[in-house]
């Protein structure tokens, strides 16, 4: 039977609900040899900041039970190089290109967004990283405070008419309040979740493994925590939600849709199975056909 994988998240239409998560898919080009990028619902870029950032000292990665910790520190080329060096490739793609932006102050967020808005076509929306656990001054503090979330969203809303996705941190008392703040600030979509703060210790050396002591936890064990956050958001806000956290299989994707996500992002899994995003598109299509689901959007929030 015919089935449609298309989903609509407010003003953002996706040909299917499979996106790739910021920081795990580079600027797209790195996966060009593994994946037919045009088959994806969309690509979310590595976080872009005002200036290039060299990132945190080593180690930045360590595997821990159930996932991994990272402490990249938003290492990236900066918005100008992004526009000149990375956008040309992205512009050749037919899938949605979402630029993830980050900063250490409201001004930095606004400046990055303004620069991107001035650049030629090729951007289908923005994701605002209000939740990076690895940058002390920035995301970490803003992202947990509903008032800050509201103010930043409001400021950015004034700068762009393109779809504005606010990415929320799970390290908070009440993700519903953060979601409401973003909604009131004018966000079109929420994405949840970024990583939880975690820590690994080398007991022989008696030292933290990561150069920054703590880092962000991602991977398989994040799934059940993320599902709870997505579900809670769905009970609180009216905006569409993009679910993120520990997605590795088709079943994981369907669970997030059922929990209330209109689309999902694949993160850590891309490192281990570089072809996984495209494979999940195929599998989701097969699943809908086998189960006579005319439109994948029927699954969204379809928990009994």
């Amino acid at each position: 039977m015919q089935t449609s994988l298309a989903v609509r998240l407010g003003k953002l239409e996706l040909k299917n609900p499979i996106l790739t998560a910021s920081g795990t898919f580079g600027y797209g080009q790195e996966f060009d040899e593994f994946v037919d990028l045009n088959r994806l619902g969309g690509i979310i870029t590595k976080s872009v900041t005002r200036n290039a950032r060299i990132g945190n000292p080593p180690h930045r990665i360590v595997e821990v039970p159930g996932g991994l910790l990272n402490s990249i520190g938003l290492a990236n080329v900066g918005v100008e190089s992004f526009i000149s060096d990375k956008m040309p490739f992205l512009r050749t793609l037919q899938c949605r290109k979402i630029v993830n932006i980050a900063g250490e102050s409201l001004e930095e967020f606004a400046e990055v967004l303004t620069k991107l808005e001035e650049s030629p076509e090729g951007i289908d929306g923005y994701e605002v990283n209000l939740s990076c656990p690895n940058v002390e001054e920035g995301g970490r503090t803003f992202g947990k405070d509903p008032k800050q979330v509201f103010l930043i969203t409001q400021a950015l809303r004034k700068i762009t008419d393109r779809p504005l996705i606010v990415k929320l941190t799970p390290d908070c008392s009440d993700i519903g309040q953060l979601g409401l703040a973003a909604q009131e600030g004018g966000a079109d979509i929420l994405s949840a979740i970024n990583t939880f703060v975690g820590m690994a210790i080398d007991s022989r050396k008696r030292k933290p493994v990561l150069g920054t002591v703590t880092g962000g936890f991602s991977g398989p064990a994040l799934k059940s925590l993320a599902l709870a956050k997505v579900y809670e958001l769905g009970q609180t806000v009216s905006l569409p939600i993009i679910g993120i956290g520990g997605i590795f299989t088709l079943t994981d994707v369907i669970e997030f849709l059922l929990a209330g996500a209109s689309a999902v992002q694949i993160g850590t899994a891309n490192y281990i199975e570089p072809r996984i995003s495209e494979r999940l598109v195929d599998q989701l299509e097969g699943y809908c056909q086998e189960n006579s689901i005319a439109s994948v959007s029927e699954l969204v929030g379809a928990l009994e």
Binding site: G23, R60, N70, A75
Partner: protein, 267 residues
Amino acid sequence: MREPGKLLCEAAVIDIKWLNDSYYTLRFHSPEMALRSSPGQFVNLKLSNVKDLLLRRPMSIYRCGKKEGWLEFLLKIVGRGTRTFSHVQPGDEFGLLGPLGRGFDFDDVNDAILVVGGIGIAPLVFLAEEMHARNVNVRFVQGFVSQSEMCCAEELTPFVEELQIATDDGSYGFHGDVVGLLRELIRGKADLTGAEIFACGPNVMMRSLAELCVQENMKAQFSVEAHMACGFGVCVGCPVPLHNRSGYYLACTDGPVFRLGDIDFAD
């Protein structure tokens, strides 16, 4: 060095051999990967259907039968992954992603001294073989903790002019570390200080080797390790400090082989 594109594939183990208590080799049938591989590059390995190892484990290409279509890795048991991998049987499938990274550059090299500590030997056996095939003069200096850890002498002899061994405990060969042995060897020998160093080993060895090379004004290339998540430049998780500490290279795409002077070993 050259990067003719990486492969993402499954391959079966065709042989597993123990070299000592903690070193073993895994040989895979993977003709296409073998063809593309050059010394110093690595492959990211994942045991298919094993869920409790999340990340792939980077392993240097130890030997490579381009004609016969096999690829071999030399592993040392240090943690969960290398232990789990040691329990596989011929026929078990791994996921392979590679060859990754930039290997050694020996296009203009006539005389080479290969210097390794412990498991650092893994990438340098393949290098010795390829250098020999291109008529480079190869001297090989190995360091081990103890005689019981020694390995690969047999594999190396066809390719090297000279093979010298140091053990930390003096149970075999030179009593002391491998850099000490190298210092002895080159002392006053102009032909040797004209050679280029190719090295892999623990950080402390690499640091003291780097100092020696600066003193003796020798060129050198080092294969370094870093914690990795992806292995192909995406996670930005494998920083190697620039010589002046003003920023970082990525071990997986800028390296794992770097030239003396480009990076900083301090800490």
